[in-house]
């Protein structure tokens, strides 16, 4: 592959003024150094005759005829700058000929004449730093406004009003064209096409908009057509001490603006450009989808809102949802990389260079969150959300937003979207597996408690049978005792209800349903869990001591899963004391450090846990029970369940004997408060 480098490309970096004329004398190319030397932007020079630079056009025509005949010329000429000053320039002109011998064009090299006494600026060797950022601006639609401003200028105390009108003028002014430098400085890599036709205000620093408006009015209302109007502006974070020159263009209703000034950066601009190029290349090829966004106008809106004393921006947005819509339709995406185009299935970057709204069609609330982050002055924001591709697929994505630093050079917000659809579905699968596993363990526990459960249900059934038979006996007597039958029937109903409650509880334990986190009274859950094992305890003459003191704060957990943990721990305690002479299980619940968490403790008087087992207690398949009696998954699952509530499970040996398991549960209101903060 061969790379063709055209002359102008090379000349862009030349330190000398390089101008290419066609044989008629019209400027064909005007390099940045020419812009620096003469002050005329390339934009205004290309297509113009050499006479534009000279006040003695008669001499120029004669000179041109001689040049084309002789092929070369060298000497000092006087040239006019936009400010009307004449400078002496050392030039060398060469005619270049086509293959057939006819003149093709003229190339001219020039630098300020030293004989003039002027010393070239220290920045001479870095022409880019001095090149003007130039604009061609259409204000034809603002004639009335300009006239109004001109009238206001005569009035006293109209300053504030004038200031507002000047700003309005810049908002109404449209960009006809800009040069490379303008694009680089304020275009945010938008590309020229995306700047053309836009309001100037969108790209012009806020601080100096009114000044630009003033200069436009000066130029449009000035008596002399050629007059230039200039103002030194304060440094604006983009250029150091910029100098703005505005003059009327040939086309009616249009003006030119040229902004001179060194880039407000300590590094040389050439270096900056090189590093920017490297940065852009890096960004472009990054495997993560990136969006560059200019939300500067929203930043200003936020400042205004903040100034009114608003601190809870979320609440403010709830009252003003239209602000989210404004951001969706006006915050412009200024650049995207290849991965972004791929992620959304676009055909080119241009498909994505639109207002940000399309990124938030599935989840408008994510845009709201992004706005809140910016308002609150965060440096970044991250969340899992959903994004719709151009072909209608909805992807799970991890969105990361990096906000601009306050007072940064350019107001650039970077969005990155990472497709986590696969990861999410994998996580969902793992969650499903864990749920299945937890459910299977519950079923297994119920299986082990069959005897106990059967006994539990049999009790009310036995009462029902006896009461029913007794009723029949009363009824079959010569004089049926109806009040007695009434009483017995009531008891039958009570017992049937009791049996039904037990079945309900077992069904709850056996059901397969997604866990939910609700506010629970721990004492109540313990009471329910105890009913599953009470007969196991009684049949083995195990003494159960329940120490539930005062009313505990509510905890946040899944009722069935919490029961599962308690039943599992009780089952273990039961096995631990089964063959011991002293058989005591103690249950206690407390909130030791009030209003933070609740501890639920199950202690047994068994032999304790061997140290080597204790270290691996919550790992799967760790069991001390005889083969065929438990898989060694109960504690692992109990720990997992406790953690899923935001709590944990701990175990330790007691002195002199026994072991203690502590379930730590988060309080309902604390968790809620914490989730609010997040």
């Amino acid at each position: 592959m061969t790379t063709q480098v055209s002359e102008p490309d090379i000349a862009d970096f030349a330190s000398e003024s390089v101008v290419i004329f066609d044989i008629e004398g019209a400027v064909h190319y005007w390099n940045p150094a020419s812009e620096a030397l003469y002050g005329w932007p390339s934009l205004t020079m290309v297509g113009r005759g050499i006479g534009h630079l000279s006040t003695r056009s008669e001499n120029e025509r004669e000179h041109w005829r001689m040049l084309l005949q002789e092929g070369t010329w060298q000497g000092v000429v006087s040239r006019r700058t936009p400010s009307g000053i004449h400078i002496a320039v050392d030039i060398r002109q060469y005619v270049r000929f086509a293959q057939d011998g006819t003149p093709r064009d003229v190339i001219e090299y020039g630098r300020q004449s030293l004989s003039d006494g002027a010393v070239p600026g220290a920045d001479w060797h870095i022409p880019d730093r001095l090149m003007a950022a130039s604009w061609e601006i259409d204000v034809s639609a603002s004639e009335a406004l300009i006239a109004q401003i001109a009238r206001l200028r005569g009035e006293a105390d109209a300053e504030a009003q004038l200031n507002a009108r000047h700003n309005d003028l810049v908002k109404a002014a449209r960009i006809i064209n800009v040069n490379e430098r303008t694009m680089r400085l304020v275009g945010g890599n938008r590309g020229r096409d995306l700047m053309i036709g836009q309001p100037v205000a969108g790209f012009w620093p806020l601080e100096s908009r009114a000044t630009l408006g003033e200069l436009i009015v000066d130029a449009m209302t000035g008596k002399t057509e050629d007059a230039t109007y200039r103002r030194q502006l304060p440094s604006d974070g983009i250029l150091r001490d910029p100098l703005v020159t505005v003059w009327r263009a040939e086309t009616p209703g249009r003006i030119y603006a040229a902004v001179n000034g060194a880039v407000d950066d300590d590094r040389s601009y050439v270096y900056l450009r090189a590093s920017e190029a490297r940065y852009r290349k890096l960004v472009h090829h990054m495997p993560i989808a990136l969006w560059q966004v200019d939300a500067s106008h929203m930043g200003r809106i936020y400042n205004d809102i903040r100034a009114t004393g608003v601190t809870d921006f979320g609440a403010y947005l709830d009252e003003h949802p239209e602000l989210v819509e404004l951001a969706a339709t006006t915050v412009q995406i200024t650049d995207v990389n290849r991965a972004a185009v791929q992620l959304l299935g676009g055909s080119s970057a241009l498909d994505l260079m639109r207002p940000v709204g399309y990124l938030f069609t599935v989840n408008r609330s994510s845009l709201r969150n992004v706005m809140i982050g910016r308002f609150n002055g965060q440096t970044s924001h991250e969340e899992i959300t959903k994004i719709e591709t151009f072909d209608g697929r909805v992807l799970d994505v991890r969105m990361s937003v990096t906000y601009p630093k306050v007072l940064a050079e350019l107001d650039v917000t970077i969005f990155s979207f990472e497709d986590v659809t696969d990861r999410m579905s994998m996580e969902a699968e793992i969650r499903q597996l864990q749920a299945d596993f937890t459910h299977a363990a519950r079923i297994s526990t119920l299986g082990e408690l069959t005897t106990s459960i059967a006994h539990e249900i049999n009790q009310p059934l036995a009462a029902i049978v006896t009461n029913a038979e007794t009723s029949l006996r009363w009824l079959s007597r010569a004089e049926p005792n109806l009040p007695k039958v009434h009483q017995l029937t009531t008891r039958i109903v009570d017992s049937a209800r009791h049996a039904s409650d037990i079945v309900q509880r077992i069904r709850g334990m056996a059901a397969r349903r997604p866990p939910e986190r609700v506010e629970l009274d721990l004492n109540e859950v313990v009471e329910e869990a105890l009913q599953f094992v009470r007969h196991e305890l009684e049949s083995r003459s195990i003494k159960l001591s329940v120490k539930s003191g005062r009313r505990l704060p509510l905890v946040l957990a899944d009722r069935v899963q919490l029961q599962q943990v308690i039943v599992n721990l009780l089952g273990n305690a039961l096995d631990a004391v089964r063959n011991e002479p002293k058989r005591v299980i103690t249950i206690a619940a407390a909130d030791p450090d009030a209003r933070e968490r609740v501890l639920f403790t199950i202690a047994d008087s068994g032999p304790g846990i061997a140290p080597d087992v204790l270290a691996h207690l919550f790992e799967p398949f760790v069991t001390t029970k005889p083969a065929g009696k438990g898989l060694g998954l109960g504690l692992m699952l109990s720990n997992h369940i406790a953690r899923s509530f935001g709590g944990e499970l701990r175990a330790r040996n007691l002195v002199p004997d026994g072991a203690e398991f502590v379930v730590i549960l988060p309080l309902a209101d604390v968790t809620e408060a914490a989730s609010h903060v997040r």
Binding site: N458, Q459, A462, L488
Partner: protein, 130 residues
């Protein structure tokens, strides 16, 4: 007129205690209920004609109660009424001279037949006094 036989019922389940008592009363027997074995032992000096006891109860089981009674020289007829299916416990109860081992839910006739055998037909009432 012979005195009405008095039957003790020991069960930790209130619904069962009440149901049994009502059945005994419709038959014309008198009934005293206790929610645990120790509670019955505290009143063992009372003259009971028969004891109906559950097996699994907190504190002391029905088998332990039977052992304690026999050790103390009591030959009170005892009917074990339980939902536990435990053959060794059953054998132990019968060894200790239990009148019967019945499982819940029990048919009223089966229970009353055993009670009649324990108390004796001569003392068996004709029915409740209206």
């Amino acid at each position: 007129m012979p005195k009405t036989p008095l039957v003790a019922v020991v069960d930790d389940d209130e619904a069962i205690r009440e149901a049994l008592c009502d059945l005994l009363m419709v038959t014309g027997l008198e009934c005293s209920t206790f929610d645990s074995a120790p509670a019955f032992l505290d009143n063992v000096q009372n003259h009971f004609d028969c004891l109906i006891t559950d097996v699994r109860m907190p504190g002391m089981s029905g088998i332990d109660l039977l052992e304690r009674m026999r050790a103390g020289g009591s030959d009170l007829p005892v009917i074990v009424l339980t939902s536990v299916i435990d053959s060794s416990a059953r054998a132990r109860a019968l060894d200790l001279g239990a009148q019967a081992w019945l499982t819940k839910p029990v048919a009223d006739d089966a229970l009353l037949d055993q009670l009649k055998a324990a108390i004796g037909a001569e003392d068996w009432p004709d029915g409740p006094e209206q």
